[in-house]
């Protein structure tokens, strides 16, 4: 039996990120090469070895866990753009969300510990709503809050594949729509690790840039002077549906998602395969899923963290993928300005890709002043570029060897 595959459209976008709390502000800042990194203000990080991060600014906190607020805001933006009339309750609607590590609030824990009470004892006398927020960790709540807000009819998918989580959420949503297992999916992710445990843990393993005196220059993917990533935070969501579904509702199609692939490195716990074969596998699977050849790619949005090993492995993989076009296909790294939004990084950077396809314009990589000889590619540096963009590959690679890649395509009605 042959199945007719559906084309998958993106009809709504929403973002909360260090460069602005909507898509327009984020893109303006990306094209203007503005850094989102500064001294940490969420808490007193001065005693830590790293006290810079890319924080979300001017954002009102309503829930104990700010990841929930980020997610609700980004989801609302995407739904507002995509859905002018409520979707039918008979349709198969779903949320697919990538979330990060559940970290606890140290002040809450110290308080409990100092009272010589167990968590259970404290919780037993608490009202329901206080129970939920007592420890700052209920990431899965975001999935149910958003599903309830928009009356989603299918069970939410909650992905935890580290820095690839929201890319996997989008990828699996793409497959579900393509194979007619869902009608409409809101896909994305939310994360914030800019808290004592998150920053302390990453700093302890030496993953973060320690450029405390020059925050704006700290995130420098593929540059010879890179020394780690900058922690970011935020959320992004994309409304996804089949082209025919979007057209039947009169929704505006912003772009297409054409391919998705993922792979496991099965290598070291914190390092990618140096030969890049894990990443290459995911990129090749994305191309195969899109029924596309590497020479059809117009540009690549790199994972580009600014860590020594990741950038070299990703370069190797991209060079193997593109072969003789490796010195010609433009490559750019949004983390140079956004910082690393961990579980939310994939979706926010994919939204930047979709905007680039719409505007036929690529942003440059900030702070890429001297390209590492081991990271030689056709990097977009200094100035943004206007060019014909048909298909852009988006890479996301997670701790523990999780590689996920998407292909987004320009939509021509």
């Amino acid at each position: 039996m042959t199945t007719t595959l559906k084309q998958v459209a993106v009809t709504g976008l929403g973002v909360v990120c260090p460069l602005g709390n909507n898509v327009e502000k984020m893109m303006t800042a990306l094209f203007a090469l503005e850094s989102g990194t500064s001294k940490v203000t969420h808490f007193d990080a001065s005693p830590l070895s790293v006290n810079i991060a890319a924080e979300v600014k001017q954002f009102p906190r309503k829930q104990a866990d700010i990841k929930l607020d980020f997610a609700l805001s980004a989801a609302a933006q995407a739904m507002q753009q995509a859905v002018t009339h409520p979707l039918s309750r008979n349709e198969r609607t779903q949320l697919a969300i990538g979330i990060g590590l559940e970290l606890f609030s140290m002040p809450d824990l110290v308080k409990a510990h100092s009272n010589n009470k167990t968590l259970e004892q404290l919780l037993a006398v608490m009202p329901w709503h206080e129970r939920l927020s007592f420890i700052n960790t209920p990431s899965d709540l975001a999935a149910h809050m958003i599903s309830h807000e928009y009356q989603m009819t299918l069970a939410p998918e909650i992905h935890i594949s580290a820095c690839a989580a929201s890319t996997d959420a989008i990828g699996r949503a793409f497959e579900a729509i393509r194979y007619d297992r869902a009608d409409f999916i809101l896909a994305g992710g939310t994360d914030s690790m800019i808290n004592p445990m998150g920053m302390g843990g990453f700093a302890r393993i030496g993953a973060l840039s320690q450029c405390n005196d020059s925050p704006e220059a700290a995130s420098r993917p593929f540059d010879i002077k890179r020394n780690g990533f900058v922690l970011g935070e935020g959320a992004g969501f994309m409304a996804m549906e089949s082209v025919e579904h979007a057209q039947s509702r009169g929704a505006k199609i912003l772009a297409l998602i054409s391919g998705y692939g993922n792979s496991l490195d099965a290598f070291r716990i914190s390092d990618p395969r140096p030969d890049g074969t894990g990443a290459l596998s995911a990129m090749q699977r994305a191309l195969k899923s899109a029924n596309m050849a590497a020479n059809q790619l117009s540009a690549i949005s790199a994972h580009g963290t600014g860590t020594e090993k990741n950038d070299v492995a990703e370069t190797t993989a991209i060079r193997d993928l593109l072969a003789d076009r490796a010195d010609h296909v433009p490559v750019f790294a949004s983390k140079s300005m956004l910082g690393h939004l961990i579980a939310a990084s994939g979706v926010v950077e994919t939204i930047a890709v979709i905007q680039s396809l719409q505007q036929q314009h690529l942003h440059a990589t900030l702070n890429l002043e001297q390209i590492d000889p081991h990271c030689q590619l056709n990097h977009v540096t200094k100035n943004s570029q206007t060019l014909q963009l048909d298909h852009i590959l988006k890479n996301s690679f997670g701790f523990g060897g999780k590689n996920a890649c998407l292909i987004a395509s320009h939509y021509k009605p």
């Binding site: 990080a45 005693p47 830590l48 309750r89 008979n90 349709e91 979330i99 590590l101 606890f104 140290m106 824990l109 110290v110 308080k111 510990h113 100092s114 009272n115 968590l119 919780l123 329901w128 709503h129 129970r131 939920l132 007592f134 420890i135 960790t137 209920p138 899965d140 709540l141 149910h144 809050m145 599903s147 309830h148 009356q151 009819t153 299918l154 069970a155 939410p156 998918e157 909650i158 992905h159 935890i160 594949s161 996997d168 194979y179 297992r181 004592p196 302390g200 843990g201 990453f202 302890r204 393993i205 792979s263 496991l264 099965a266 716990i269 914190s270 596998s281 523990g400 060897g401 999780k402």
Partner: protein
């Protein structure tokens, strides 16, 4: 349930059947197969700590030094995966890219001892002190602890030690998501993206943080709730083997959205197939225990989880 008029997922047709080639499971030795299925001791007589599971898996590791990076849930996952892959007659040297990994991780634990150390060393007259946290608490922690509390680590250790490099889906945190993992594995098998699917879950639940999370969504508020540590893994294929352990005939997943910040309606109760709460592992563990009995027939695996996912699976044991 607002699912009546929507297109129902089609049942698996004969030429799309999925076969179970192997299964593996682990729980504390006090939670034996018979006890889990029919004869669990009264929870009044048991201490939660008695159901902790911490297998020695050094002999199963590609690199024995990795043991220092592994939390209990990582060890349980590797133990069950090895058992399942061995029973399926597969060679870990050949799994590579045609094998997919579909894994559900229960609520993420944090070991009690470092938690106490963090609290003690961060406290100044009963309040959190950032200075003490940065200068005393963090330096006292073993940096390798970072690798023990990441939710995607059980999947990493399974992929590394079993040589799995295919597609994956890693989700969280309960039995409803186990069904979603299974559904994704079935999809990938039927689309011929892979030849073999490893579907599993792990739950390290003898832990104060996990107990907190279980309670925050536990409508029953049932103190008799017996949490156990456990892992289970199934090896699936769309190709009929000579002697499959079982075939999966039908799967369905339904959901009713709810606001988790409001107290849930009293009428909503969870249901459990086992005499203990294995969290995300519940359905996989039930299947593994049922397969172990080797009684021919059709079996239903049904869950009604606290996050309003009702799911069912029908399997046949030949």
């Amino acid at each position: 349930m607002n699912t009546q008029n929507r297109k129902a997922p089609p049942p698996l047709t004969n030429n799309q059947k999925i076969f179970v080639l192997g299964c593996g499971w682990i729980a504390n030795e006090l939670a034996t197969a018979n006890q889990l299925l029919s004869d669990m001791p009264s929870t009044d007589e048991m201490q939660p700590e008695q159901f902790r599971c911490d297998p020695d898996v050094r002999h199963l590791l590609q690199d024995r030094k990795h043991i220092k990076l592994m939390a209990r849930q990582d060890k349980m996952a590797v133990f069950a995966a090895n058992q399942a892959i061995h029973q399926a007659g597969l060679d870990t040297n050949t799994l590579e890219k045609h094998t997919g990994l579909y894994f559900t991780v229960g609520t993420v634990p944090f070991e009690q001892s470092p938690l106490n150390s963090l609290c003690d060393n961060s406290s100044d007259q009963g309040k959190f002190s950032m200075n003490r946290f940065a200068n005393k608490a963090m330096p006292a922690l073993n940096p390798l602890l970072t690798f023990k509390c990441l939710p995607n680590m059980p999947a990493y250790h399974v992929s590394y030690n079993m040589g799995i490099r295919g597609p994956y889906q890693i989700n969280y945190p309960g039995p409803g998501q186990w069904f979603q993992s299974l559904q994704q594995a079935i999809n990938d098998l039927q689309q011929h993206k892979i030849k073999v699917a490893i579907v599993g879950a792990v739950a390290d639940q003898i832990n104060p943080l996990v107990r907190h999370h279980v309670k925050r969504l536990n409508i029953d508020n049932n103190n008799q709730h017996l949490l156990i540590d456990s892992a289970s893994i199934l090896v699936l294929s769309a190709q009929d083997a000579t002697t499959p352990l079982a075939s999966l005939d039908e799967i369905s997943i339904h959901y009713q959205s709810f606001n988790p910040l409001q107290a849930p309606p009293e009428s909503f109760n969870t249901s459990r197939m086992l005499n203990a709460d294995a969290g995300a592992v519940d359905p996989g563990l039930f299947i593994a225990l049922t397969l172990e009995k080797k009684n021919q027939g059709q079996y239903s695996v049904v869950i009604k989880s606290t996050d309003r996912i009702n799911a069912s699976l029908r399997l046949s044991i030949p």
